[in-house]
């Protein structure tokens, strides 16, 4: 072990955390600022990843796409598709009690997972989607590549942070906050609550899809397994709640902290007795669940606190 090795791992760690922090920022728009409950983050994360994979991937006979198009095109397509998805799920639920969005989004996440599992022609089905290129990969050697990609991801995190920050501080964001505080007042003050909720749901989902797109380049290969509820949804909620809902810095910080805790605890697997070692992954998930319960009990506002 040496410093460069640690830093090398840190780069890959930060890439994953960066992709998650994008999703966490998206959730922050929906939940932190508007009070919308999205329990189906995995749906949008997966959509982003898969669309990116289909658009930018190498040609393939086995499934749709492999269009070999630039990364930017892929990201834009991912955004469009997830926006449509968010719109569809918003129509029946956004006029009703908040729980219904939660339940329905949970359902859409499972349905999306079924689609990517079953439809081989679309996304390779259970074979997964391979051959996703590394953006800017031809510029540098493989050893330094992680740093280049990390730079790219962090730049995207930065841009999204800037854009989200800009818009939630604008009058538009003020309306969202008003809706979060009291829908009735927002409506009485002439704000079309349904429209704003829909915009917020779509914006957040689009951001999640961008996170998914950059996740796709990070793993290089997609399979339905990555979008199970734990890794696709729960962990992102834990990130936002840890960092601080309604605080974009908190959303990013939370992603790094929770991902850090998640991977950090794994280093201990080698020290566990062998009986338990084989169950360490479950204990890890239990740990995340307890962390969350403790957070909403003792520090509901998260590390940085909300606005």
């Amino acid at each position: 072990m040496n410093v460069s090795g640690l830093l090398g791992y840190f780069a890959t760690f930060a890439i994953a955390a960066g992709a998650y922090s994008i999703a966490s920022l998206g959730l922050n728009v929906q939940f932190g600022y508007t009070g919308l409950y999205n329990f189906g983050i995995a749906a949008f994360f997966a959509t982003g990843a898969y669309v990116e994979g289909i658009i930018t991937g190498g040609p393939s006979m086995e499934h749709l796409g492999g269009f070999d198009l630039p990364v930017l095109v892929g990201v834009i397509a991912a955004m469009v598709v997830s926006a449509i998805l968010a719109y569809i799920i918003g129509i029946p639920t956004l006029r009703l009690k908040g729980e219904f969005l939660g339940i329905s989004s949970l359902g859409i996440a499972e349905t999306i997972r079924l689609i990517i599992t079953n439809e081989k022609w679309l996304a390779g089905g259970v074979w997964g989607l391979g051959d996703i290129p590394r953006p800017l990969g031809n510029l540098v050697g493989p050893k330094t590549y992680n740093w280049v990609y990390l730079g790219l991801v962090l730049a995207v995190v930065g841009i999204i942070y800037f854009l989200v920050q800009k818009i939630v501080k604008s009058p538009w964001g003020r309306v969202l906050k008003a809706i979060r505080e009291d829908e009735g007042v927002a409506a009485a003050m002439g704000k079309n609550v349904y429209k704003y909720k829909m915009q917020s749901l779509i914006l957040g989902s689009v951001i999640m899809a961008v996170g998914g797109a950059f996740y796709a380049h990070y793993v290089g290969y997609l399979s339905p397994e990555s979008f199970r509820p734990l890794m696709g949804t729960f962990i992102i909620w834990a990130m936002l709640m840890a960092g601080g809902k309604g605080n974009n810095k908190g959303a990013i910080l939370g992603a790094f902290v929770v991902w850090g805790v998640w991977t950090f605890t794994e280093f201990f697997v080698n020290y566990l007795p062998s009986g338990l070692a084989s169950r360490a992954g479950y204990i890890n998930a239990i740990f995340i669940a307890i962390l969350f319960q403790v957070l909403i009990r003792i520090r509901p506002q998260g590390i940085l606190g909300g606005e």
Partner: protein
């Protein structure tokens, strides 16, 4: 025809879960996302009683005629009801109640329960391992019944027990004081308090009955299919769909919703398959069975959301 029978079996299992979910939703005013985990715990508690406790007492081995299990299963079901109820009540006392007392809204409670479900699922994996268990190594042979119905004796037992429990629950809610109090509390909890009903006691009873029913549902699923850690999660959507279709807090609604979901899941896939086949679209529908509950639920929500304005 057999699809309908299978739907009824699935529907009975969902119904037992949905009645409990409907009760807790109405009285506690939040959607308990961990209700699927009650099914899960119930199934594994039953397994523990059946394969750990009873053999240790030297009580095992008998089977009822025609069925794949003996009277031990009855003890296991009762034990599972009790144990699951106690665990869930304890969780309510230590996790949800402090949140309620602090005035947290239904959404925070819902989220808390969602993570509770995650925790319980992984706890089950840690304790019992990730692989599948069965109550019995016997295999039930399918029997022919009139009208072309094919089912196993175990499945008749499942439907029978579900009907029995539904009737007992209904009698409890109708005839006993605590049952009436539960209905009263789900109707108007403030008034219940004024009337002198100890609402905390009602809450405990509600958890107890709701999760005990779910526990039985879990055991019945275990008898019919298998025990596995993800089962609670996969039941979550059908349960919610049943409650939403039936209307929260409505006993008969939950029952009807459960049957609708159960039958729709079993009948819907082949029906859609035939439809797609006949118009020559190459889709395999069998993979989408779980999505049917979801689609039904969205349709109901859609109708409701336009009723709202």
């Amino acid at each position: 025809m057999n699809f309908v029978v299978n739907g009824l079996i699935l529907g009975s299992i969902i119904a037992l879960g949905a009645i409990g979910l409907s009760l807790t939703t109405a009285i506690l005013n939040f959607y308990n996302f961990a209700h699927g985990a009650s099914l899960l715990l119930g199934a594994y508690m039953g397994y523990t009683v059946l394969s750990e406790f009873l053999p240790r007492l030297g009580l095992s081995g008998s089977t009822f005629p025609y069925l794949s299990f003996g009277w031990q299963m009855i003890i296991a079901i009762l034990g599972s009801m009790g144990l699951t109820a106690v665990i869930m009540i304890a969780i309510d006392r230590f996790v949800y109640k402090p949140l309620r007392d602090r005035g947290s809204g239904p959404l925070i409670l819902g989220m808390s329960s969602l993570f509770m479900a995650l925790m319980l699922r992984n706890l089950v994996r840690t304790i019992w391992g990730p692989s599948v268990h069965y109550y019995s190594n016997e295999i039930q042979m399918v029997q022919e019944f009139p009208l072309g119905i094919r089912m196993t004796p175990d499945q008749i037992f499942i439907i029978g027990l579900a009907i029995l429990l539904v009737i007992l629950t209904q009698l409890f809610l109708k005839r006993t004081k605590m049952g009436q109090a539960m209905r009263a509390a789900s109707d108007n909890i403030d008034l219940a308090m004024i009337t002198g009903i100890d609402t905390e006691k009602v809450v405990i009873w509600t958890w107890g009955i709701g999760t005990a029913l779910a526990a039985v549902a879990g055991v019945l699923y275990g008898i019919n299919v298998q025990l596995r850690p993800m089962m609670g999660w996969y039941f979550l959507l059908p349960l919610f769909a049943a409650v939403i279709i039936g209307g929260e807090g409505n006993f008969y609604g939950a029952l009807a919703g459960a049957m609708t979901v159960g039958i729709a899941q079993e009948v819907g896939t082949p029906l859609l398959q035939n439809m797609f086949d006949s118009i020559n679209i190459q889709v395999s529908m069998t993979g989408y069975k779980p999505a049917i509950a979801f689609v039904l639920m969205v349709i109901v929500l859609l109708v409701r959301s336009y009723g709202e304005e």
